[in-house]
Amino acid sequence: MSHSRGWPLPRKRRKAPPPVPLEDYDRAYLNADEWAFVMAATARLIPSDGDGPGAIETRVPVFIDLQLAGDYGAAGDWYMEGPHDPSAEPARGWQSPLNPAEVYRQAIPAFDAWCEETHGEIFAKLSPEQQDASLTSLQKGDVGLPSELRDFFTILLANTKEGYFADPIYGGNHGMQSWVYIGFPGARAAYRAWPERHNVKYPLGPVSISGERA
């Protein structure tokens, strides 16, 4: 079936106003060194080259900064009473005494020190190839972080993907670029006519909670 007619495109596309450039962004939680790290690391976790947007164009670092400044960073909903056994087997869940914001704060300098020792520079100053190798070591647990920081890579990667795919109201997924790329219609959430349209690609682009269209 053809979709060239029947689903008119919105006459006026609402675009978000151009955001503050990342260099001038007024950080809510991260300090300058941490910001440099998060910019560099997310740029490797979701790089800009190839098809689809990267973490930088989608402003994932802003998302991470805001999340760490808020309830998530503070583990506001979590049970954080002691005693803690951070070296327990990973299958036992989060057992660090630190909340996510504290993990970033302590893990970034520790990882930077490892990068300096291993590759001669802090992470942000390494070449992309060295950065990828360092992140791989971090992912594999070869960096020697203390056990209370053990989950750093896991949350860094999870937060990066969250910032890439979450609604733009949280500061990332700028312009809904990741949704356009994969074909997710965002907050449309109304598909009454679609269950029976078998093997037909949904034609409309995404909308966001604040009413952007792309």
Binding site: D77, P90, F184, W194
Partner: protein, 589 residues
């Protein structure tokens, strides 16, 4: 000293599915009722309204509708040899919070157990002999039968507004329904929902292999509907923000859409939110309760609420915790087998296969929580336990239910987790995969139980509950059996690629990934006080004016999602209260 409130006839602890049922049925008797709910108030408007509700990060990932573990949690260990550690951040299960409870953000898969599942011990012993029951398995019969409960399954389905197609109508097997289900006195209140592409592919493949596909029974409205309380629902639009979300339309079955507005019109009913019950108070002789003590969050003080009758409807985990703290039974000791409270904690054993079809379009964001076609050809009543070497079964389902990309991004095994390879893979694969899930039974075992933790406490200084739980060989063997049967079916669909995810023998319980919020047992039903915590009417053996609702009553878990049985047991209980207990309060058994 605690503040004291005016005495009520009934105090209800927790205003989710079962608390709402108890509330409205007992309000019809003219009783003075107060419900205490630890969470906030919430309703379709304004709390679930569009577009704010369509927010994967807030509700799907940060889980803002769920129990706050900072307020209440438990500790977990896998055996008596381990030290239990707190469940600090949500993972494996997601108990609800606030008015409506988990009934607000469930999927809506509404099942009746098979008749054999309610008499499973007898079914096993009669067919294969006691010898096949593995050591350490506490296999039991429910003290109620399918026939006892049939009118109450029907009643709950009418209230909850379930869509489906009866496969066994008064004994007549109907083509297109589930031929292996127990008999139904009436067809479903609403016809089945339309079938998405993945479901129809699964349906065709299952049929070709001689299986019997049928539409999943869904607490999701397929048409306009008015339930027996006069509550109105409208058809679902497959918005795909269903599981973990409140429905922004009036389409998903929930306490809000099917009971609460009608209940709030009774002048003899009231409810208080931010009111967390801390314990049930017992009379000096320990034979009845005098009421409950709760924490009033607004006033920051303890309050005693006297009442003639206490209904515990705070979800399985919270019910068991409250009962342990209140001495409503003797704690189970797995070493001696003595005590019953906390016994037979059970869960669910699931697996599945993901298939990639590069050239096909599945639009995974088009769906609802209970979408899909199902087969029951490998269900409990169909499996030869003696020949296969396990006791149990599962149902298989295929149907899109959310295409939200943070959590739902199936990629071929071996795809890098980040970097250029990951980014390319999400572009190539999103929308081109479908899956079949196996949703399986979980038996009860001596090892798996609940008691109080010796170390960790909550904000009120009360000991946390401790869960001792691990996967057991019997259920893992069942899971592997399902894998061996599902792989040929999946292969017959000729995907470009397929990958199975079934736990292997020896798998250890991992609290991190979401599995199900189908926690069962702990205050199990029994024929006599030696074997369980409540009788067939969910009345505690210890105190006859305390009734405990919910899946805590399950002797062992069934192969299905629990709420159909939870709802039927709740109606069975309130019926007994109305017809037998109120006129003469006493132990009913």
């Amino acid at each position: 000293m605690a503040r004291q409130e005016q005495k009520k006839d009934v105090v209800i602890v927790g205003l989710g599915w079962t608390g709402s049922i108890a509330g409205i049925e007992l309000a019809q008797e003219g009783l003075e009722i107060v419900a205490l709910e630890r969470g906030h108030d919430q309703n379709t408007v304004p709390d679930f309204q569009y577009p704010q509700q369509i927010d994967e990060l807030k509700y799907g990932v940060r889980l803002k509708m769920m129990q706050k573990l900072s307020q209440q949690t438990l500790t977990v260990r896998r055996s008596g040899d381990e030290t239990a550690l707190p469940y600090r951040s949500l993972g494996s299960f997601l108990p609800g919070n606030g008015v409506g409870g988990a009934g607000t953000h469930w999927n809506g898969l509404n099942w009746r157990p098979q008749p054999a599942e309610l008499k499973l011990r007898s079914h096993v012993v009669e067919n294969w002999g006691e010898g096949i029951i593995p050591e350490g398995m506490n296999l039991g019969d429910y003290p109620v039968s399918y026939d006892d409960l049939e009118p109450f399954f029907t009643q709950f389905e009418k209230v909850a507004g379930i869509s489906g197609y009866a496969g066994n109508l008064n004994g007549e097997i109907r083509e297109g329904g589930n031929p292996f289900e127990g008999w139904r006195s009436e067809d479903y209140p609403m016809p089945p929902l339309p079938t998405t592409y993945d479901s129809s592919k699964f349906q065709a493949a299952a049929k070709a292999m001689g299986y019997h596909p049928f539409p999943a029974p869904a607490g999701i409205a397929s048409t306009a509907y008015v339930n027996p309380y006069g509550m109105q629902m409208g058809p679902c639009n497959f918005c795909g923000f269903c599981e973990r979300f409140g429905c922004y339309q009036y389409s998903k079955s929930s306490p809000q859409t099917t009971i609460l507005d009608a209940l709030k019109r009774y002048p003899n009913f009231s409810y208080r939110t931010q009111s967390e019950v801390l314990r049930v108070e017992l009379a000096a002789d320990g034979k009845t309760a005098t009421g409950v003590t709760y924490w009033d969050d607004a006033a920051q003080e303890e309050v005693f609420q006297p009442a003639d009758m206490v209904i515990l409807s705070s979800y399985q985990l919270n019910n068991v915790h409250l009962m342990l703290l209140s001495g409503l039974g003797e704690a189970y000791n797995p070493l001696t087998g003595e005590g019953t409270l906390g016994k037979n904690y059970a869960y669910q054993m699931n697996g599945g296969i993901t298939m990639f079809f590069r050239e096909e379009e599945f639009n995974p964001f088009v769906g609802h929580g209970a979408n899909g076609m199902v087969i029951d050809d490998f269900s409990i009543s169909q499996n030869d336990f003696g020949a296969e070497g396990f006791i149990g079964g599962s149902y298989w389902r295929s149907g899109t239910f959310n295409g939200q990309p943070i959590r739902n991004m199936p990629l071929p095994a071996g795809t890098p987790a980040w970097g250029a390879g990951w980014k390319q893979a999400i572009g190539e694969n999103y929308g081109h995969a479908m899956s079949i899930g196996s949703h399986g039974s979980h038996m009860a075992y001596a090892n798996n139980h609940l008691d109080l933790d010796p170390t960790y406490t909550d904000r009120h200084g009360r000991p946390l509950m401790r869960m001792t739980f691990n996967w057991q060989d019997n259920d893992l063997r069942m899971n592997q059996f399902m894998k061996s049967k599902m792989e040929p079916l999946a292969a017959s669909m000729n995907p470009d690629l397929m990958q199975a995810g079934f736990k292997n023998i020896g798998a250890q319980y991992d609290v991190r990934p979401y599995q199900t919020t189908h926690n069962t047992g702990g205050h199990i039903m029994s024929e006599n006080a030696r074997e369980g915590v409540v009788n067939r009417y969910s009345q505690t053996w210890k105190a006859h004016n305390v009734f405990a609702m919910g899946a805590g009553n399950f002797v062992q878990n069934t192969q299905y999602n629990p709420t159909g049985l939870v709802g039927a047991l709740a109606y069975h209980t309130v019926n007994a209260i109305r017809t037998q207990y109120l006129s003469n309060p006493r132990p009913l058994v």
